[in-house]
């Protein structure tokens, strides 16, 4: 088993080290064409329902700490340590407080653990469409997410027939709303399928794959337990220990596509939650000061562009959806 993974990793390394060659293949051209159509569709949908697109900040004194096991990129910024955004969550909240409904096409970097290299789902460098809605609930955010996905799928089906054919991909038509399962229900479902998951952590990759494989249309997992997510996912006041958050899961084994939540915006709650990652709240000084001044409640999510492309195109791995991809631990151009 281990041997197999290692050979797979060696093959992957060989391929990635010559990634400039992919761009000349018909397969890659079709993939990128579909990606562009999907992005265009998502942009026009969001603009049609009142969102404003902003240029994303990509560096800052702090970034999102809530990324499972991945390290941030730190660099010297005139004598101080700054970070490259692992997600623009903190800036999203700032932007939302002034403009209401906003989104970024946000480039992010996460130095993922090395065992993610063979997952087919992780990139070190990727882009997410990251949006935030003032005074919204996570149900509002999920409704935007499902419409957004359908807009992208329908446009791709209409405009990229030749490319889909070349990739051998047939896309069904879905109509929202998508099904919603609570975290507890998913654990139960997994248990019935012979997979035990420890309560309190995010669904592990193999389990997520299994559940995604069982489903034949996209669905949401909602209400994760506290501890499984970053400090900015809001805890339900009536159900202590349960977060008002969600993941959008693609069917056919493609797994998680988007992740979102209602935000914790109260200063004192955020401070207590920050302790969970063992951090000194002092590190987030600007953010906490902003929260102390007060910002509106909000909800939002980020949808990974490469993962969406992988799903739309039916690709084996997410790195096939990116020019010169970077995968954990692989030194490639």
């Amino acid at each position: 088993m281990e041997l197999k993974v290692d050979t797979h990793l060696q093959q992957l390394t060989q391929i990635l080290q010559q990634s400039w060659r992919h761009i000349r293949t018909e397969r890659m051209k079709a993939t990128l064409k579909i990606q562009q159509a999907a992005c265009d569709a998502m942009r026009s949908y969001l603009k049609s329902v009142g969102f404003m697109e902003l240029l994303p900040p990509i560096i800052g004194p702090v970034t999102d700490p809530g990324i499972r096991g991945a390290k941030q990129v730190t660099f010297d910024y005139y004598g101080r340590e700054y970070k490259v955004m692992s997600s623009a969550i903190l800036y999203k909240q700032a932007a939302m407080s002034g403009l209401g409904k906003i989104f970024f096409m946000s480039p992010n970097i996460r130095l993922e653990p090395i065992d993610s290299a063979s997952s087919g789902r992780h990139l070190v460098e990727f882009v997410q469409l990251d949006l935030e809605i003032a005074n919204a609930t996570y149900f509002d955010a999920m409704s935007v997410a499902e419409n957004l996905l359908c807009a992208a799928m329908n446009t791709v089906k209409d405009e990229c027939k030749r490319e889909l054919e070349l990739l051998g991909r047939e896309l069904p038509t879905f109509s929202p709303p998508f099904k919603k399962f609570t975290y507890d229900e998913v654990l139960e479902l997994l248990r019935k399928n012979g997979m035990k998951v420890r309560y309190g952590v995010e669904i592990p990759w193999d389990a997520e794959y299994l559940i995604s494989k069982i489903m034949d249309e996209p669905f949401f997992i909602i209400d994760y337990p506290r501890g499984a997510r970053g400090f900015y996912d809001r805890e339900d006041e009536n159900r202590p220990g349960i977060l008002r958050d969600f993941d959008l899961i693609y069917p056919e084994g493609y797994g998680e596509g988007a992740s979102g939540a209602e935000r914790e915006y109260r200063y004192d709650r955020v401070m207590a939650r920050m302790r969970e990652t063992g951090e000194d709240p002092r590190k987030y000084a600007w953010y906490l000061e902003m929260l102390r001044e007060g910002i509106p409640p909000s909800a939002g999510f980020g949808i990974g562009v490469e993962r969406l492309t992988r799903y739309l195109c039916g690709l084996n791995a997410v790195w096939e959806a990116r020019l010169c991809p970077k995968v954990a631990g692989v030194y490639s151009p």
Binding site: G69, I114, R198, G227, E279
Partner: protein, 457 residues
């Protein structure tokens, strides 16, 4: 006649002098003049053990805890009580087809998910320079014996992650890799602490994505350790004394009572926060670790807090791999006198809570003890109480200063042999057979709480 009168007079004046000095001495001893004068002279610096010693014997700092604090019960209150009838020895004999010897005792044990050749751990020593300086010798010795090792807080932040920031001080990764590469296949594991300041530099994430550490992650030999307090200073954060030069380099990372650049002294105290916990935060923290580092063991180091049973319950509900309890006698190296004297439960008192806890919930996780433990007897007594092992800190540091890696190895071998002798004396050959029946206590109340016999009953 003349002579004897002179002698008598001399004797009388000597006696008068003696009583004057004697009275003075008594007054001197009856009131802590020395301590107050020391405070008057040295100011705030005097609240810590003096720094006049050479580094090689600075490992002795705080060693006078028993004489400074009012005497409290220690593991010496307990005795191991061998029986004459030894059915388990008979069983062992039929297995070996000969009379068993003490060398037939099997000390191998699983601690916190790691395989240990004996149930001892090299305690997580941190960045304090006497400890860091001998850390590679400790790492080599611990690896040689096949016991798990901890790496304390602030090492990476103070001495560098993979490159030395100071030529004579090993960096974090040297400590970890020296240990891991020195291990015999199938044994060992390393538990890594992360202070608030290390978290700022994302130490755990860095370890988790380090290609050199990856093979050991795969084998399940890496653990991350939450530190909630330290033996002799529960409720206080880390205290260290740094040279002015080191302090200036680290001034953005730590809290210094004064700006190191504006201090003229050669040595400056560094403080770090104790960390804030409520059950919900601790629970979520463990989940966060399970979530973010699924391939790591979760270890917790606990100071001797009065709500030990509550903390243990919370940790057990979340299913941590190991809990290590440091009694008041532990970690005295850089503790203020006031905390050594006044703060926290003695180890024996903490063990009373633990044994009651084990009775009610069973052995669900590895529990270790530390705090002035240094020989095979201490180890065996803890095992009899249902613990999974002990952690040695200062003994390994002293052994390393005395004889390098070889010294650490020699020292650990003595503990190993002693433990085997004592276990075999109890007529047992596997540490899983040890139980409170093997112990007696010199104090009636402690005996009752520990669930062992009172020796005089």
């Amino acid at each position: 006649m003349q002579v004897s009168r002179v002698t008598l007079r001399l004797f009388l004046s000597l006696h008068r002098l003696y009583s004057i000095f004697g009275d003075l001495h008594q007054i001197w001893r009856a009131y802590p003049f020395r301590e107050i004068i020391d405070r008057a002279r040295r100011g705030v610096e005097a609240i810590y053990p003096a720094d006049v010693l050479k580094p090689s014997i600075m490992t002795l700092k705080g060693a006078d805890i028993y004489s400074r604090a009012k005497q409290f019960a220690t593991l010496d209150e307990l005795l191991l009580l061998p029986p004459a009838f030894t059915p388990l020895r008979l069983k062992k004999m039929s297995e070996l087809l000969r009379e068993p010897l003490f060398s037939d005792v099997d000390l191998r044990h699983k601690i916190g998910g790691f395989n240990a050749a004996m149930p001892v751990m090299a305690a997580s020593m941190g960045s304090v320079h006497v400890a860091n300086k001998i850390s590679l010798e400790v790492a080599r010795g611990a690896a040689k014996l096949g016991i798990p090792m901890g790496v304390g807080e602030n090492v990476a932040t103070t001495w560098g992650y993979s490159r030395r920031v100071k030529a004579n001080q090993p960096c974090f990764k040297e400590r970890v890799m020296t240990y891991l590469e020195g291990l015999e296949e199938g044994y060992g594991g390393v538990a890594i602490q992360q202070s608030v300041e290390d978290a700022y530099n994302e130490l755990w994430n860095r370890v988790y994505s380090d290609p050199d550490i990856e093979p050991y992650l795969k084998k399940g030999m890496i653990g991350f350790e939450i530190k909630i307090g330290q033996g002799s200073k529960p409720g206080l954060g880390g205290e260290a004394r740094l040279t002015k030069e080191d302090a200036e380099r680290l001034r953005d990372k730590y809290h210094f009572s004064e700006d190191p650049r504006e201090v003229s002294r050669g040595v400056i105290e560094r403080h770090s926060a104790p960390g804030t916990y409520v059950p919900e935060i601790l629970r979520s923290m463990v989940r966060m670790m399970r979530n973010n580092y699924p391939r790591c063991r979760v270890w917790v180091k606990l100071g001797p807090f009065r709500d030990l049973p509550d903390v243990l319950n919370t940790l057990l509900d979340e299913g941590v791999d190991a809990v290590w309890i440091d009694g008041k006698e532990g970690g005295t190296g850089m503790s203020p006198y006031a905390s050594m004297r006044h703060l926290g439960l003695p180890l024996v008192a903490a063990l009373c809570s633990v044994s009651e806890f084990l009775k009610s919930r069973g052995r669900l996780t590895s529990i270790l003890a530390s705090g002035r433990l240094f020989d095979g007897g201490h180890l065996v007594k803890c095992l009899c109480l249902g613990l999974d092992g002990v952690a040695f800190g200062r003994p390994l540091a002293v052994a390393a200063w005395a004889g390098g890696a070889r010294g650490v190895e020699n020292y650990l071998r003595t503990v190993e042999v002693e433990a085997k002798m004592l276990v075999s004396a109890l007529g047992k050959y596997s540490i899983n057979d040890l139980s409170p029946e093997d112990l007696g206590c010199l104090d009636r109340d402690i005996a009752e709480r520990l669930g062992v016999r009172y020796v005089y009953s």
